[in-house]
């Protein structure tokens, strides 16, 4: 198997290029660590999760297709799948992160870290406030639908509907489809 400097970083790392692996850590490590911290109940759990995620990245990096989207989103897809799987396996909920208490910044640090994130941020801004709130609690804060219902006082079915429709709108934005009609549909 040959690799060239023009190959995506993920492919080169998956094929054994050590320099690419180091670059992967520096470029994608903050994404993996940020997601793992947010969706793991403890620091130790976040460390285990981050290691498992990178094993997945090394194993499946060759599946990355640049035509599909950015490497950042590919990494985030792999990371979220692993974290969701761990949460289902452990049947634990992500506690509010005491790890971050020393950090005064609460806003996302770089909503435009890749083109998909910028598009998603735009789509989120166009959502109905309830959809935006539910989607953020679900994806960014890692709350389950039941927890969101308990926290917001919305019915569980409404939470599920808002989350699904919100995500559907973001997906449409990423696919370049018009999204206004979905954002204004009534909830179930």
């Amino acid at each position: 198997m040959r690799w060239s400097r023009n190959d995506p970083l993920l492919l080169r790392a998956a094929r054994g290029d050590q320099e690419a692996a180091r670059e992967c850590l520096s470029r994608f490590g903050p994404i993996v660590w940020g997601l793992a911290r947010r969706l793991s109940p403890t620091h130790a759990d976040a460390e285990d999760a981050a290691q498992e995620i990178f094993l997945d990245i090394w194993r499946h990096g060759e599946r990355y297709e640049s035509a599909r989207g950015s490497q950042e989103v590919f990494v985030a897809v792999v990371a979220r799948r692993r974290l969701i799987d761990r949460r289902r396996r452990n049947a634990t909920r992500p506690a509010t992160e005491p790890l971050e208490l020393s950090e005064p910044v609460v806003a996302p640090d770089d909503p435009e870290r890749c083109v998909e994130a910028a598009l998603a941020a735009r789509a989120i801004g166009d959502l109905r406030p309830e959809q935006r709130e539910v989607l953020r609690l679900s994806v960014a804060h890692g709350l389950t639908h039941e927890e969101i219902a308990a926290q917001t006082g919305m019915a569980l079915g409404t939470v599920k509907s808002h989350a699904r429709r919100g995500l559907h709108c973001v997906r449409k934005m990423l696919l370049g489809e018009p999204m206004a009609a979905d954002a204004n549909e009534d909830v179930e």
Binding site: M1, R2, W3, R15, G16, D17, Q18, C24, L25, G29, P30, I31, W33, G34, R38, E47, Q51, F54, W58, V73, V77, R80, R81, I84, A95, T96, E97, P98, E100, L101, S102, E103, P104, V106, D109, D110, P111, R113, E116, A117, L119, A120, I124, E133, R136, L137, S138, V139, A140, H141, L143, A150, Q151, T152, G153, R164, L167, H168, V170, L174
Partner: protein
């Protein structure tokens, strides 16, 4: 419910919370298991809302140690392979000589040297403001800051506690300054802030984040999970480690009310 809607429901559920075995099989039967467009959408949302931080150095070293190594057929490996083919006999002879010499020598302690590759320790990131500095900046820079003094309840851990809470609605940023509240053991209990919003149902205050107290005075950034429109009351409760999704309000230690 028709097929496409059920597929959409399952794909969104998989992206947000994962599927049960039965749901995964259903998605497979519906022929849509390969559609990961919802997973990509959820990942994009996660990236847009992310606070990224570098991997801890020791963790990065462990991750790098598990990275794939070049395979034997990789171009980088070829010169070494050719060397073994061309110089194979000479090398084998040299190895035999070394082995014989080693056999003839008295046994010695064997030292095995392992080289472990550790990534360069990254330069420490520039230090951000401490919560106390950020609080001071908020007070001077934001023109809509609400500042409310804490009132301790009759709870023994709150005896003599004081301080204040500051909140900027336009920035959705705020800080708690707390003096004299009993230190907590995070493995047993943690403090949690709740924000009652005049524009929301009072039965569901906004979770303002879980925090610990150690020392006489702490400044804690508020981490509101939802947008706060009109804060009417801030309340600190004692909860189980990790906090509660809905507080039973069994132990309230501090309150700060507007008006």
């Amino acid at each position: 419910m028709n097929g496409p809607t059920r597929i959409e429901e399952l794909l969104a559920a998989r992206a947000l919370e994962g599927l049960t075995e039965a749901e995964a099989q259903e998605l497979e039967r519906l022929g849509a298991a390969g559609d990961d467009s919802y997973d990509w959408a959820a990942a994009a949302v996660a990236l847009a809302e992310l606070n990224a931080n570098p991997l801890p150095h020791e963790l990065a070293a462990r991750v790098l140690a598990a990275a794939p190594r070049p395979r034997a057929t990789d171009p980088q490996a070829r010169p070494l392979f050719r060397f073994w083919v061309v110089g194979g006999w000479a090398t084998a002879a040299a190895c035999l000589a070394i082995a014989a010499a080693a056999w003839l020598r008295p046994p010695a302690t064997q030292v095995v040297e392992r080289v472990i590759e550790v990534p360069q320790r990254p330069a420490p990131p520039p230090r951000g403001p401490t919560p106390a500095e950020a609080r001071a900046a908020l007070l001077t820079e934001a023109d809509d800051v609400v500042r409310l003094p804490w009132k301790p309840t009759a709870d023994a851990d709150a005896l003599g506690a004081s301080g204040d809470v500051v909140w900027s609605e336009s920035r959705q940023v705020g800080y708690m300054r707390i003096r004299g509240l009993a230190s907590n053991d995070p493995s047993l209990a943690q403090y949690q802030l709740w924000i009652f919003d005049g524009k929301r149902d009072a039965r569901h205050p906004v979770d303002g984040g879980v925090f610990d107290v150690s020392g006489d005075e702490v400044v804690i950034p508020i981490r509101a999970k939802l947008q706060v429109f009109l804060p009417t009351l801030f309340a600190v409760t004692v909860e189980k480690p990790g906090g509660a999704v809905v507080s039973k309000r069994e132990r309230i230690v501090l309150t700060a009310a507007s008006g």
